[in-house]
């Protein structure tokens, strides 16, 4: 018997049986230990709205950790679109499967955020650089005397 968790949603009109479930996009079917564990548990009971929202929140937190501009934007956007796309799911086993997939995808995102940060290049994308100097000076090939230039003159 599963213990019922008491939170602000129980016993109110936001009962788990009345709300349309937010769920996750259908990601890879690659078996990971975590998804395997969850499958047996999740098949029995569908996730609650709070669990699903917390999964989305974790996705957005993991997306923020990516050092690469494009991947970061994609991860956040795809998570939101995926959850929104699965909002209409009503079959509890489908919801549970999607939730399990979402958990495994979250693990992938966390691992990859660490890998990308370990190998992040020193310069960021131009999209992240505010008021880039070439635009200020009106040319992308202009000479710019930063502090590095002066140091180079005096080294023999």
């Amino acid at each position: 018997m599963k213990t019922i968790r008491y939170n602000s949603y129980n016993g109110t009109r936001h009962s788990r049986y009345l709300l349309p479930y937010l769920s996750v996009a259908k990601p890879l079917e690659r078996p990971t230990p975590i998804a395997g564990l969850l499958d047996s548990k999740a098949m029995a009971t569908a996730p609650s709205r709070a669990e699903v929202l917390s999964l989305l929140r974790s996705f957005l937190q993991a997306a923020r950790k990516f050092s690469d501009y494009n991947i970061r934007e994609y991860a956040a956007r795809r998570a939101i679109d995926g959850f929104r796309g699965n909002k209409a799911l009503s079959d509890p086993s489908a919801i549970a499967a999607a939730f399990a997939d979402g958990m495994s995808q979250l693990e992938v995102a966390k691992r990859q955020a660490a890998v990308y940060s370990s190998y992040a290049p020193k310069t960021k994308s131009v999209m992240e650089v505010k008021m880039s100097p070439p635009e200020r000076y009106g040319t992308s090939c202009g000479i710019r005397w930063g502090s590095g230039e002066y140091r180079k003159i005096y080294v023999f």
């Binding site: 259908k26 890998v115 310069t123 992308s140 502090s147």
Partner: protein
């Protein structure tokens, strides 16, 4: 004890720092600050990148998806275990390392086959679409050298197909290079006329890498089946982007590439039909791997990456194509709203939306590219951009020399954002306006003079 420590301290304080450091390898290593990446990109100080005489404030925004695509993090996640602990050779039959590698390769093969509605036994892994094209063209014709002496292809094919055909011509085969219509599509009546009884192969690429035009594969497949020729298509740019079904399209041979679908570079696949059986002569001889079609150890991590990329592509095809179409419209409308004299090369209707090839009138191409250093775009294809000749694909479309020189190819992909498109529009428009301001030809056109009617004086 204390005296020894004190004398040590005194000695350290008195010895000049340079002399002390010179005799310690650790100190030498400590002098150069450890950088996370080998500094291949010139100097990177204060956030500026300086390379080949160009300074930009950050890494350019990437709009060159037809040249290559970034590896999807989910693909990298699938590949890494096979570089770390599961490093076995898939052809080792005697131990766990080999068994797990082999099962990973077979799973990847099934993923690739599922994306094109084929049987896994029909997929062979190669080093890329170029190798697959070579095997298809040369392998098929050499197998049937007794009875089939003719090959039909188009003038807009990829260089590897054209070069393989030229090689076959030197061996004594005949090749017909079909011209294309000005919108880039091949004329089906010309194709039907060109196929002879002794035609062994018809090779037409699915999506062109330079202009993005999608050929009518179903009609061409039907034509080839009626006439008894094998239909080969280079689907490197098409895989995972437009739906491909080898049964519906009557494809006999197909070349696939890993690094165009957010997978790793250095891997590709070849589809060879089994019913009716297409026979080819292997071009890489050796230990008989891949059923003798392509010998050599199958690179497990790369193949697993390609399989993962195909799985992802199958799930994301709808989402990506909707998003990329919207981005392409945004780009085209944004540029057209601010500039005139913008020509799209290739048909707009029969086009893969992620490829937009534009020509800007009265602007010189090299200077346009030099000014667009904060956007990574390409002019012509990556394989031909080393030479100064305008691209042969644009020449085959009938585009004028001056317009062919000013063509820019924008490649939009899964990871492109709206902000990047807006910035690309802004930078392109600014550069084109700047160049047109300096252009005397543009002034003349604005005054109403017809450029073509000018008699240029000889000096």
């Amino acid at each position: 004890m204390a005296a020894a420590a004190a004398s040590r301290l005194l000695r350290r304080a008195l010895t000049p720092a340079v002399a002390r450091r010179r005799f310690s390898t650790a100190a030498v290593a400590a002098e150069t600050p450890p950088s996370p990446l080998p500094s291949a990109t010139g100097e990177e100080d204060a956030g500026m990148v300086s390379m080949k005489g160009v300074r930009i404030s950050g890494r350019p925004l990437y709009l060159d998806m037809q040249a290559t695509t970034p590896v999807d993090p989910r693909v990298l996640d699938a590949m890494l275990p096979f570089y770390l602990s599961r490093f076995g050779n898939p052809h080792s039959r005697t131990h766990l390392y080999g068994w797990e590698s082999e099962s990973a390769v077979e799973a990847a093969r099934a993923s690739v086959a599922a994306l094109v509605a084929a049987d896994p036994k029909e997929i062979f892994f190669t080093s890329g679409a170029t190798e697959s094209n070579n095997i298809s063209v040369k392998g098929l014709m050499r197998f049937h050298r007794a009875r089939k002496r003719h090959v039909v292809t188009t003038q807009t094919e990829h260089k590897c197909v054209l070069d393989s055909c030229r090689h076959l011509q030197q061996e004594g085969f005949e090749v017909t290079y079909l011209p294309v219509r000005p919108d880039g599509l091949v004329d089906l009546d010309h194709l039907a006329d060109a196929i002879r009884p002794d035609t062994g192969l018809v090779s037409v690429m699915a999506v062109n890498n330079e202009i993005g035009v999608v050929q009518p594969l179903e009609e061409i497949g039907r034509l080839c089946r009626e006439k008894g020729a094998v239909f080969h298509t280079d689907a490197a740019q098409a895989l995972g982007k437009i739906p491909i079904d080898v049964e519906k399209m009557g494809i006999g041979l197909m070349s696939l590439s890993g690094h165009k679908i957010y997978g790793p570079k250095g891997v590709g696949a070849l589809y060879v039909r089994r019913r009716p059986r297409v026979r080819i002569e292997p071009q890489m001889n050796g230990g008989g791997q891949e059923r003798g079609i392509r010998s050599g150890t199958v690179p497990t991590p790369l193949v697993v990456g390609m399989g993962a990329a195909c799985e992802i592509a199958m799930k994301e095809m709808d989402y990506d194509s909707r998003r990329i179409s919207a981005l392409q419209e945004r780009l085209l409308n944004g540029i057209r709203a601010k500039l005139d004299g913008v020509v799209v090369n290739g048909s707009l209707e029969h086009r893969y939306p992620g490829n937009l090839n534009l020509s800007f009138a009265f602007v010189e191409g090299e200077s346009l590219l030099m000014g667009l250093k904060e956007v990574a775009v390409s002019s012509g294809s990556a394989c031909t951009s080393a030479s100064l000749e305008p691209s042969y694909v644009l020449r085959a479309l009938g585009v004028d020399e001056d317009m062919a020189h000013t063509s820019i190819r924008f490649g939009i992909g899964r990871f492109t954002t709206e902000a990047e498109i807006d910035k690309a529009i802004e930078l392109t428009v600014r550069q084109v306006e700047k160049l047109r301001e300096m252009s005397p030809l543009y002034e003349m056109v604005k005054e109403g003079i017809d450029i073509k009617s000018i008699q240029w004086a000889q000096h």
